[in-house]
């Protein structure tokens, strides 16, 4: 943790939601600045040097996705999106535009906090640079030597599997959409071949997870993408 309290900007038009999110975050030791429009939110983001932005997609003046695109033009600050819509398309659009995570309304405080902690940790890591060995569960990944071990035993990964794992490890906790993964691993011409991705993800899960049907780390965001959860 940094010495300064983390700064969080909350862009949300409903004042009751603003109120409880603020209370929660302040109880966690964050400094919270509120905005109720995209315009106001962008101003706050530019001036407050935040560690995290919480963004509602349905804002009165402009679409929340515009906000993300605008922000990603000059900043890598993690964004957690709040959505009242259950339609996956909106979430995918927000994630593809550069959001890190999403929460569907209504959500509990516990869930909110969990996501915020992950996102804050990511912003910390970005600042401090990445380690050469990553561990989650019983899996150990040596980025320098390109080796993977599980329970101390070496695990064989194909080049694509390794590239996939590498991508996830570089973005811990972030929801990666099918499109993003395909572009990163296979290249921009294969962004529509999501069933290949599913086959490799299944293989990866079978190699690394204890119970592939109820995975602990490599999680599926149905209809959206995948995320690697590292405690």
């Amino acid at each position: 943790m940094t010495e300064h309290p983390p700064v969080v900007i909350l862009v949300e038009d409903d004042k009751h939601i603003r109120r409880f999110v603020r209370t929660t975050l302040e109880a966690e030791g964050c400094q919270v600045f509120e905005a109720d429009t995209v315009r106001q939110g962008l101003i706050e983001s530019g001036t407050r040097n935040p560690n995290l932005i919480i963004l509602d997609l349905g804002l009165p003046d402009r679409d929340g996705i515009d906000f993300i695109r605008d922000l990603r033009g000059w900043s890598e600050i993690p964004i957690v999106v709040l959505s009242a819509r259950t339609d996956e398309k909106d979430k995918i659009a927000a994630l593809d535009a550069g959001a890190d995570d999403y929460l569907t309304k209504p959500f509990g405080v516990g869930e909110l906090l969990a996501r915020i902690r992950v996102a804050l940790r990511r912003s910390d890591k970005n600042a401090s640079g990445s380690a050469s060995v990553v561990e989650f569960g019983t899996v150990q990944l040596d980025l320098a030597n390109r080796t993977v071990k599980r329970n101390g035993e070496p695990v064989h990964l194909t080049p694509i599997e390794y590239r996939l794992l590498n991508l996830f490890v570089r973005n811990p906790g972030k929801v990666l959409t099918h499109r993003q993964i395909l572009r990163e691993v296979w290249g921009p011409s294969h962004v529509e071949s999501s069933h290949y991705l599913r086959i490799y993800m299944r293989q990866l899960r079978h190699k690394l997870e204890k119970n592939p049907a109820n995975p602990q780390f490599i999680l599926t965001e149905i209809g959206i993408g995948y995320r690697l959860m590292i405690e």
Binding site: L82, K105, L157, M201, A213, L219, E221, G223
Partner: protein
């Protein structure tokens, strides 16, 4: 150069081959015929099979042969039943019956006597694979369903029951008169040839005449009292030889037919069939029955269809009703023998027939031979046809000798009961007309020539002819000549004629009067006939017009009563069928209806065939039952009670009645579909309203719910900590808010699924991803349950919409968690069955209430009514909607080991494989 030559040759060759190909196609059965054959075979497959044991006379051992054949099948284990088997108490025959189940006969009371008859209903109910019914030609006792036993057999066959039966050659309809001329005994019990010809198998039971006579002398042949008296006549060797020949020939014909069909079907040799169907002309002359039988035989020998036509000319319409009835019977006979019968109306028989033959392409006419007429100037019918058209073949058949028919005619005339209309006033008016003409003539005679006075008389004859028809006009013609002679021709007031030239005047006057009278009378008659026809057609048209506007079944019934009753002079009742195919009277109408026999009506409805009066089925009933056949299904029954029964027997009238019935049926169907459409419209409208309402509700609920959940959570976390009771309350607020949210989600999903807005985003994916994500999503609810997942390692990828199938799994898991106690086991399994992937979620809880396995998938149903367990029963109906959208099936069942299991299927398909592009070498 060579190449070019070669190309030319090839070209020539291909051209020369072309006509060969063409002729080859001619040799093959044409597709229509093949289709017809397939249909015929299909029909045959569902129908029972008929096997006929055929013999030349009584005593050849048909029953014995039938029982022996049955015996063999019985020993092979076939549970056959004997419906009727006339053993006549013979020991050897009785012995064969041992061990065969005998169907009890039905007892029918007839004229104070109890008679036994074959019990058709019991046989249909028992539905054995094979039934023995002896004596196909038997006539049933009055009061049975069908007048003839062969009709019972037809119904058995239609019900899919195989039948063994026996027939003697003299009982075949077309051979009936041949046999009677040989033996001198006329048999009344006959079987239509089509029954015999359509039998699947015919076995000829044959013994030599000597052997048969031997058996007769040994008393081995059962004979009734009447037969004993005829014994000497019948069982003469000559007769027996002739009968044997007949039966052998008939069987040979059949075999020949089969052979021809076989060859045709196998295309061994294409027999060129022009299909020159026969047209038989039925006239009023006696002896027409013989012509019909002859034509029937001819048609079956040629293997063609045949039509029987009766032309009703004005002259023929004047025949006494008894003779008309005979013509109808002749037509009926033709119909029974398999002809298509038609009644035509026309001025001249020959012209009408020729026109009909040309329009239907029937180049062969069959007519009865005319006897030498005493009128040498009259051309015979065949000559008239020959003059009209030279391209028609005419086949003449000898009629029965006329003397016998005269007897027939007298017999028929005796039966004629309908009183003829009083005609004497017409004749009186003819006399009056002549008197008036005389009076006018007397007034004119001083000033005019006699030739002008003749005109007055002719005028009176014309007027009488127009007004009163032929008889009075003939009377008028003669009377005019007499009066003219008496009053005007000198010497006046005497019949003597001074000048011989007046005789010419008389003759010409009489001729002119007669001809004019005849012409005008004919004209009048035709006008009458035309107006009758027009009245009925107008009624049909008006009813169609009235029916086209109605919206309620009751209106249709009222209109039908109005038109049918007034047009035909009958009383009718209309019975409508409900959804369970049961007939019932419509709501009270203002018409009095005849009392209807519901069992006949139901039979008529079930078979969709006419029954009752004038039909083959229960003709003893006074009421005719017509099915109201509409394009989609039979809508009900039209019961017609005629006041003058004869009228309904006239084919033309029946056809018109059928026309009315068809109109009523179509109107009923139309009204039915109007109702269906209206109901659908109302349903659609309300569904749409509900859907839009739900969508607004669920969407707008979310924002305040988020605050509610968040604020409740914040309460829990406030410092200083709340008391346990307060904490509990805050927790409850949170849970309830989530419940509302889940409900809103369900409602929205259901609304969208039902509105058909959901487009499946199908992709190939491993099932375990969805299972894992569903388990994660429901982790909170499943925290206190043990969940086991059994997915085969090599389970193939499936193509489905992951979001929706996850929703199905979530709902099923949530459901299991909700209805089982904490600590219960929940098990997710997947497998492959019948080419489909099956995924099931089972638990070891209390299971489903018995009988609710299907109902729980309906909207707003829960396991227990009004229970405290939360959740609106939308979850499962959402599951069903989703699974069905994937062309799968979902069902629930209770496990033998306790607990409930929900299973759904998904189609397998062929999952894509990784192309080489992605194939990689092993990593280091």
């Amino acid at each position: 150069m060579y190449q070019a030559l070669f190309g030319l040759q090839a070209c020539y060759f291909s051209w020369s081959i072309f006509p060969i190909l063409k002729t080859m196609t001619n040799d093959r059965p044409n597709p229509d015929e093949l289709l017809e054959r397939v249909q015929r075979e299909e029909e045959k497959a569902s129908r029972g099979k008929l096997k006929v044991f055929f013999g030349a006379s009584a005593g050849v051992g048909k029953t014995y042969a039938m029982l022996s054949a049955a015996r063999q099948l019985r020993n092979q284990g076939l549970a056959l039943v004997a419906g009727v088997a006339e053993t006549h108490g013979r020991a050897e025959t009785m012995a064969l019956m041992e061990g065969i189940e005998v169907l009890p006969m039905k007892e029918i009371k007839y004229r104070d006597r109890l008679l036994q008859e074959f019990d058709l209903d019991a046989a249909l109910k028992r539905h054995p694979p094979l039934i023995l019914v002896d004596e196909l030609a038997h006539t049933n006792i009055q009061g049975s369903r069908h007048p003839k036993r062969w009709q019972d057999v037809e119904e058995l066959l239609a019900a899919g029951i195989d039948v063994y039966t026996t027939v003697n050659v003299q009982h075949l309809e077309s051979l009936n008169n041949v046999v009677s001329t040989i033996t001198g005994i006329r048999v009344r019990e006959t079987v239509p040839d089509k029954v015999f010809d359509q039998a699947d198998e015919v076995v000829l039971v044959d013994i030599t005449p000597d052997e048969l006579l031997q058996r007769l002398h040994e008393g081995k042949i059962y004979l009734t009292h009447q037969a004993k008296s005829a014994i000497d006549n019948f069982f003469r060797k000559g007769n027996l030889i002739a009968l044997r020949e007949l039966s052998l020939r008939r069987t040979a014909d059949r075999v020949d037919d089969q052979m021809r069909t076989y060859r045709q079907e196998r295309s061994i040799e294409r027999v060129w069939q022009t299909k020159e169907n026969l047209l038989v002309c039925v006239g009023p002359q006696p002896g027409a029955e013989k012509v019909i039988r002859g034509a029937s035989r001819l048609a079956s020998e040629l293997g063609v269809e045949w039509h029987a036509v009766y032309v009703e000319t004005p002259l023929l319409q004047r025949l006494p009703s008894a003779e008309r009835e005979r013509i109808l019977h002749t037509l009926q006979l033709a119909h029974e023998l398999g002809a298509q019968t038609t009644t035509l109306a026309g001025q001249d028989e020959a012209e009408t027939i020729v026109g009909y033959a040309h329009s239907r392409n029937l180049p062969k006419l069959v007519i009865g031979r005319d006897y030498k007429s005493w009128k040498p100037w009259c051309r015979s019918f065949s000559e008239r046809i020959g003059r009209l058209s030279s391209d028609l073949d005419i086949i003449q058949i000898v009629r029965d000798p006329p003397d016998k028919s005269r007897k027939d005619r007298q017999f028929l005339q005796k039966r004629q009961t309908s009183p003829t209309k009083q005609t004497w006033p017409f004749y009186a008016w003819a006399v009056v007309a002549c008197a008036i003409a005389t009076l006018i003539g007397a007034l004119m005679s001083p000033y005019f020539e006699l030739s002008n006075i003749v005109m007055i008389f002719l005028l009176s004859v014309v007027l009488v002819g127009i007004k009163y028809g032929r008889g009075p006009s003939v009377l008028g013609a003669f009377l005019s000549v007499i009066l003219f002679d008496f009053f005007f021709v000198p010497p006046r007031y005497s019949f003597a004629v001074s000048d011989i030239q007046y005789l010419v005047t008389f003759a010409v006057m009489l001729m002119v009067a007669l001809v004019i009278g005849q012409l005008t009378a004919n004209l009048r008659y035709q006008a009458q006939v035309a107006s009758h026809r027009e009245t009925r057609l107008r009624a049909l048209y008006e009813m169609a017009r009235d029916l086209s506007g109605v919206l309620l079944p009751d209106q249709i019934i009222d209109i039908s009563h109005k038109f049918v009753e007034s047009t035909f002079g009958v009383r009718i009742a209309i019975l409508l069928a409900d959804d369970h195919d049961k007939l019932h009277h419509p709501a009270a109408s203002r018409y009095t209806v005849p009392i209807v026999d519901f069992s006949i009506a139901q039979w008529c409805f079930d078979h969709s065939e006419p029954a009752g009066f004038g039909t083959d089925t229960l003709p003893g009933s006074p009421i005719l039952y017509l099915p109201l056949r509409a394009p989609m299904r039979t809508r009900g029954i039209l019961a017609v009670k005629p006041t003058t029964p004869r009228l309904l027997l006239i084919p033309e009238q029946r056809r018109q009645m059928d026309g009315f019935a068809a109109l009523i049926a179509t109107a009923l169907e139309r009204v039915h579909y109007i109702q269906v459409a209206q109901e659908a419209m109302v349903k659609m409208e309300s569904e749409r309203l509900r859907n839009s309402l739900l969508s607004v509700l669920s969407h707008d609920l979310r924002t305040p719910l988020t605050s509610l959940v968040g604020l409740a959570d914040s309460l829990v976390r406030t410092k200083p900590e709340l008391s346990p009771a307060q904490l509990d309350m805050a927790g409850t607020i949170r849970d309830q808010a989530f419940r509302i949210s889940a409900l809103a989600n369900n409602l929205l999903d259901m609304a969208r699924l039902q509105a058909g807005e959901v487009q499946l985003n199908r992709q190939w994916q491993p099932l375990e991803e969805v299972v894992g994500s569903a388990l994660k999503a429901r982790a909170e609810q499943l925290a206190k349950h043990h969940v086991q997942v059994y997915l085969p390692h090599d389970f193939p990828m499936l193509e489905f919409d992951a979001v929706l199938i996850e929703r199905v799994l979530c709902n099923l898991l949530e459901n299991s968690a909700k209805y089982t106690a904490p600590g219960s086991e929940i098990c997710i399994e997947a497998g492959i069955q019948d080419g489909k992937a099956t995924i099931s979620v089972s638990d070891n809880g209390p299971g489903l209430p018995i009988g609710s396995e299907e109902a729980i998938f309906e909207k707003f149903t829960r396991g227990e009514k009004e229970s405290a367990t939360p959740g609106v029963g939308l979850g499962l109906s959402i599951c069903r909607a989703i699974v069905e959208a994937h062309k799968g099936r979902i069902w629930a069942e209770n496990l033998v080991t306790g607990g409930a299991r929900f299973t759904f299927t998904l189609p397998l398909g062929t999952p894509p494989t990784l192309p080489d592009l992605y194939g990689e070498e092993e990593s280091t």
